[in-house]
């Protein structure tokens, strides 16, 4: 659904079917809509069978990395000798992305159902839903749904009468984009500063509390129940071009568009249709650039945007990434230099500060860009930015550092003229820096 707009005919509505439908939030409303039938069926399967089913579906992580979900689940120890954990990543903080919030506030039981099925598959009895602290409404709604699920016996000591305990708790974040990184998320659950961990060990071997853990995104988990009821083949068929990218994806379209919102389309959907047709540009404007997967993916110019197919491989073919599906649109009025500076400020603010390249590099990037925007930049600053960007890439514990460099490097490569205009004075300064 192009929520908050009416579904566009070109959308494929699966996850977003009940966005805007307040009755679907309740347990009774969810059951009326077929809810918890998938969990019932999954509990009757062996954990390994559920893993194989999700593997066969081709579902890949919807948080940003696109890692095959079934494969991630299969990394968990087959023989359970200690407690296993599921962590649901509801930290949604990637600029441009606002889909998990909608899933939680409209279909909270769908997420609980997906979590419970995953927990069965990975043999976990406890799951934590890590919700970012700012999401006050999703937290309230998820908590109400959890309370209902416990009252109805869906969760708790005897989940759906299966004899198995399944407990899910909400763990509220407190303001940190980096806690969306899976190892920082686990540290945050443990009551620590949200610093990412070096891997190995990987979460499946040593996760929260040093125990086998799987971390999955909200949209990924919410995609699971339909796969259980409708099958892997059904999910595989939901793809317009490329068998390696299956299913539907919620695209959070924002920025310079007429109808911002979450649009659900099958993998392989043309980016240009999503931007020109479904969301639409503002009247009289033309497309300058976009980032299809959140602020951490390479910026596409208009030609690349128009050629891009929205699946994992299609985006890579255009030199970008599907990422979170947070589609940020820049029209011809956008000041690319200013917006890239504002992105750099975001990363500098959010750096956990463990790694020198990130802690210092994000700050230098901001200051150089501010210098350029204040009319005090030099041509050598562009080489400096590219050099700093290279030093920030592939050399740190996590990829926040790389993510800061990405829009800077792709921005300079594709919009060099805009940077040069500030440097030569062809464009008047927009910042005053001491």
């Amino acid at each position: 659904m192009g929520y908050p707009h009416r579904p566009h005919p070109k959308e494929t509505v699966v996850l977003s079917q009940y966005f805007g439908d307040a009755d679907a939030r309740t347990y009774a409303g969810w059951v009326k809509r077929g809810g918890y039938a998938a969990l019932q069926r999954a509990l009757g399967m062996k954990p390994g069978e559920v893993v194989d089913l999700v593997k066969a579906s081709g579902l890949r992580g919807r948080g940003g990395a696109g890692f095959p979900t079934g494969m991630k689940w299969s990394f968990m120890p087959r023989e359970k000798t200690k407690p296993h954990y599921l962590c649901c990543n509801a930290d949604e903080s990637e600029p441009g992305t606002f889909k998990d919030r909608e899933i939680m506030r409209w279909t909270p039981h769908a997420l609980l159902e997906g979590c419970a099925i995953a927990m069965h598959a990975i043999q976990a009895e406890v799951g934590y839903i890590y919700i970012r602290g700012e999401f006050t409404e999703p937290i309230r709604i998820m908590q109400a749904a959890l309370d209902e699920a416990h009252r109805e016996g869906v969760l708790g000591a005897n989940a759906l009468g299966s004899g198995r305990p399944l407990d899910i708790w909400i763990h509220r974040g407190a303001g940190a984009y980096i806690c969306g990184e899976e190892t920082a998320l686990m540290n945050s659950i443990e009551g620590r500063r949200g610093n990412p961990r070096i891997r190995p060990p990987f979460p499946a071997q040593a996760g929260v509390f040093g125990l086998p853990t799987t971390v999955n995104n909200v949209e990924t988990l919410t995609s699971v129940p339909a796969i259980v009821t409708q099958g892997a083949e059904w999910y595989q068929k939901l793809s317009l071009s490329n068998p390696k990218s299956a299913g539907t994806k919620l695209f959070s379209v924002c920025g310079h568009v007429a109808r911002p919102g979450n649009y659900e389309v099958t993998m392989g959907f043309p980016l240009k249709d999503l931007v020109y047709d479904l969301a639409g540009l503002r009247p009289g404007r033309t497309l300058k650039a976009c980032q299809p997967g959140g602020s951490s993916v390479p910026i596409l110019n208009r030609e690349e945007s128009e050629a891009c197919l929205l699946d994992y491989e299609g985006c890579v073919a255009q030199g970008t990434m599907l990422g979170s599906g947070g589609l940020i649109v820049f029209d011809d009025t956008a000041d690319m230099v200013y917006q890239i500076m504002r992105l750099a400020r975001f990363y500098a603010h959010e750096s956990c500060a463990q790694c020198t390249q990130c802690r210092e590099g994000t700050g230098w990037t901001v200051r150089i860009l501010e210098r350029i925007l204040s009319g005090k930049g030099a041509m050598s600053d562009l080489d400096l930015l590219l050099d700093v960007g290279e030093q920030m890439t592939g050399k740190t514990i996590c990829v926040l550092s790389d993510s800061c460099a990405v829009p800077v490097v792709s921005g300079i490569r594709k919009f060099r003229g805009e940077f040069e205009a500030y440097i030569t004075g062809a464009r008047k300064p927009v910042l005053a820096v001491a």
Binding site: F98, R101, S188, I189, E190, V253, H256, Q339
Partner: protein
């Protein structure tokens, strides 16, 4: 623990019971730290050194450790703030949609002269925050626990009237 300088302990009665219930969800006491800090902030409006010491003692941690965690997360206030705390998103997707105008409107109409400062009447504090995860509903604003979508500069004065 001795109460010094008028500090009112947080974890008594109902709040103690709440914390005990939360602790049972995790295999370690340390994991109850973020939830405990939220309970403190709900009770007192901010997290003082004395509060950090109380939390530390309650969870068998050191006060220094607790402070390290408090200072990491941006939503925990380390000093008193206005009666109403206003967080306005300014990151690029909202920036493209006029967020800076909204921020400016809040600063103007609250009487806060700068970001992070509390208005002279103690009513408001305004801060610019990073992506609030509602980019399609620009500009989103958090006022206390109310998450408000699609705020415009023109709508700010009317919005503020709801928060006496």
């Amino acid at each position: 623990m001795q109460a010094t300088g008028g500090y009112q302990p947080v974890f008594t009665g109902d709040r103690r019971a709440r914390l005990d219930e939360i602790r049972a969800r995790y295999p370690t006491k340390r994991a109850a730290l973020l939830p405990a800090l939220w309970i403190v902030q709900e009770a007192h409006g901010w997290i003082s050194d004395a509060a950090m010491a109380e939390v530390a003692e309650t969870l068998d941690l050191t006060a220094a450790y607790v402070k390290g965690v408090v200072t990491f997360y941006t939503m925990y206030h380390q000093h008193p703030v206005g009666r109403h705390f206003i967080q306005v998103c300014g990151t690029t997707p909202c920036n493209l949609c006029g967020a800076e105008g909204v921020i400016h409107a809040f600063l103007t109409h609250t009487g806060c002269r700068e970001l992070g400062a509390t208005s002279p009447d103690g009513r408001f504090t305004v801060v610019e925050v990073e992506c609030l995860g509602a980019c399609g509903f620009a500009t989103p604003v958090l006022i206390d626990d109310d998450f408000i979508e699609s705020v415009t500069p023109e709508g700010v004065p009317g919005l503020l009237q709801r928060y006496p």
